[in-house]
């Protein structure tokens, strides 16, 4: 039983000169209580995918999908109103800037209260107890004090905790965290990620962690999806991706992070992909990584499809199966 199954989700941006595709036929599956990491660079469409699932796209965006199955119901078959209500009861999202989901004009208490009331929180006293519980759950020391405060009186890390508490108020089956720690300091980052993972494990709810930071995903996720230029390039279990990435892009990403103990030696260089990320309206022919790919061959001018590879996962690369065979040979 899957919590979330997305098949061929496309999002495009409407301009005067036609549609510009931002997300191209993305298919993702998440099991119950699974933690999925989505990694990609800015403009790769990873946030758009999340917004599309949540139904939060701006009116200038168009989305299409074969189906988006969230906790047993297909969102694409619902009317707009039904869909909004259903998604609100099943899923929640937190953003990079906690300020984005908190209103600076109202106290934490009134904002939390409103969210709890919206999800049928009972009487006034019940709601207050619930609010205190939620703040306590997200590791806030003095919930009674924080309730009386306004977002600008709290630090970025605290605000992010409050945003998480608000997201949890609807007891979501799926929590999407879009770059939840990018705006925070290193020491605070790890606290927030740990909190998200702990909550997800405790409540057996799914967590989709969207980030550009591979290191962040390596410890905490069950599976990882790698996104580049609006396409899912690779989708497999975390240990598979970390130990033997099949897609050249994933491999390049992993190699371009300085390794532990990698000290300054004259002449030593990091592995780096050449070139720049293609603009979304100037995509290369065939494989979108093509011009930058260190392994590109003649066949890469044909568009690769996402293919399943046995005992691994899905990869969008012509060379994937070949390289895995080679690797097997090399191992034996």
């Amino acid at each position: 039983m899957h919590l979330l199954r997305v098949e061929n989700l496309s999002v495009s941006y409407l301009t005067e000169s036609g549609e510009v595709p931002i997300v191209d036929r993305m298919s993702i599956k998440m099991g119950m209580g699974e933690i999925l990491g989505v990694v990609g660079e800015s403009g790769s469409g990873k946030s758009m995918m999340a917004l599309a699932i949540m139904g939060l796209l701006s009116p200038k965006m168009r989305m299409r999908a074969d189906y988006i199955n969230l906790d047993g119901e297909d969102l694409m078959k619902m009317s707009v109103e039904d869909r909004a209500a259903y998604v609100a009861s099943k899923a929640a999202i937190i953003f990079q800037e906690p300020q984005a989901s908190l209103n600076p004009c109202f106290s934490i208490a009134s904002q939390l209260d409103e969210t709890i009331a919206f999800h049928g929180g009972g009487g006034r006293a019940d709601r207050k107890t619930k609010a205190l519980e939620l703040l306590d759950d997200v590791g806030i020391n003095r919930p009674d004090l924080v309730l009386k405060m306004y977002p600008h009186q709290l630090s970025g890390g605290m605000n992010q905790r409050v945003a998480i508490a608000m997201a949890l108020a609807c007891e979501p089956r799926l929590l999407i965290a879009d770059e939840p720690t990018t705006a925070l300091d290193v020491t605070i980052q790890s606290q927030i990620i740990e909190l998200l993972v702990k909550l997800s494990r405790a409540q057996q709810s799914g967590l989709m962690l969207i980030t550009h930071d591979f290191a962040l995903l390596s410890e905490n996720t069950d599976r990882i999806g790698v996104v580049y230029s609006g396409q899912l390039m690779e989708h497999a279990a975390t240990e598979n991706i970390l130990s033997s990435p099949h897609h050249p892009y994933t491999k390049a990403l992993l190699d371009s992070i300085p390794q532990l103990g990698d000290r300054h030696v004259k002449g030593s260089r990091l592995f780096a992909l050449d070139g720049n990320i293609p603009a979304i309206d100037q995509l290369p022919v065939g494989c979108r990584l093509g011009p930058r790919c260190p392994k590109a061959e003649r066949q890469c001018v044909n568009t690769p499809e996402l293919r399943s590879i046995e005992n691994y996962g899905k990869v969008r690369c012509h060379l994937a199966s070949v390289s895995s065979v080679n690797k097997a040979e090399a191992d034996s």
Binding site: P278, A279, Q282, P284, P291
Partner: protein, 295 residues
């Protein structure tokens, strides 16, 4: 937008000004407004040659309707007013007068305003505070009311009306220049240029000025339309251009008593003001879009 060198090479990179021009030319509405405005300016420029008669000459036929009415006459295209003066000639000369005055006002207001604004942004807190509080004082009153007060103080008449309208327009220029410069000063590229060793003058002319120019240009178009309107308003109230002068506001005020008998004498100068303002504002909006200003 990213132009990656490995995909194609652009041979000529258009300058910023030509990019703005291209943007503006693509905007059909703004372009047609620009053509209309240019026509009005041409009419104003060549008024003595376009107008068939002297605007002050009185003909025998008073309150003659425009030529397309049954009792209209071909030699008075837009009819005559209550004193028998040719309305077309008066409007054409009025365009010359109104635009001339408005340009004069905007030149005064923008130069003083930009000077004060730059002074305010670049000098110490005290001078800044004094200038800004004076500007607040001017901004606190409705502009037309203030202009009326100023004219009442220094006496009615065309020159005084011009000063009054200019004073009313100055604060907008001061504010926009000051805020734009302050915003620029906080930007990293100004710091970076300072670290290149640039002098303050060079910093101002090379880095700050080109970046605040778009907002100032848009402000100039806005001020121009305000100036046309306020000068006409003062003329209408009898505080600006005085009676025989063919100024649009004055023409309106002279004829508004006859609105039931000779409606065209009111409608036509009104339409002239309306189309002038419309075209200026559309051009201003087009410029704002073309120069990629936010808002």
């Amino acid at each position: 937008m990213i132009h990656s060198p490995q995909f194609y090479q652009q041979s000529v990179i258009p300058s910023t000004v030509s990019r703005w021009t291209n943007n503006f030319l693509k905007n059909k509405l703004a372009l047609s407004a620009f053509v209309l405005l240019a026509l009005i300016f041409l009419v104003a420029l060549f008024a003595p040659w376009i107008a068939p008669y002297d605007p002050a000459i009185q003909f025998e036929n008073t309150k003659l309707p425009p030529a397309w009415y049954d009792d209209g006459m071909a030699r008075h295209l837009l009819g005559t007013d209550d004193l028998g003066r040719d309305l077309f000639s008066r409007l054409v000369h009025g365009a010359r007068l109104s635009l001339k005055l408005a340009i004069f006002v905007v030149v005064i207001a923008s130069s003083i305003g930009m000077l004060l604004g730059s002074l305010s942004a670049l000098s110490n807190v005290w001078i800044d505070q004094i200038i800004m509080r004076v500007m607040d004082l001017i901004l606190a009153l409705p502009s037309l009311l203030l202009a009326i007060v100023i004219v009442a103080l220094i006496g009615p008449g065309l020159p005084n009306a011009i000063y009054a309208v200019a004073i009313v327009l100055i604060p907008h220029f001061v504010l926009i220049t000051r805020n734009a410069i302050k915003a620029e000063l906080g930007k990293e590229y100004v710091t970076a240029m300072m670290l290149d060793g640039a002098t303050k003058v060079r910093l101002f002319t090379h880095s700050i000025l080109p970046n605040i120019l778009p907002s100032v240009i848009v402000q100039i178009t806005l001020a121009f339309s305000t100036a046309v309107l306020e000068i006409a308003a003062l003329g209408f109230l009898g505080l600006g251009a005085q009676a025989p002068y063919p100024e649009w506001g004055t023409i309106l005020s002279e004829s508004h008593a006859y609105i039931t008998i000779a409606p065209w004498t009111v409608a036509l100068p009104g339409l002239a003001i309306f189309f002038t303002l419309l075209s200026i504002n559309l051009v201003g909006e087009g410029l704002r879009d073309a120069m990629e200003l936010e808002q």
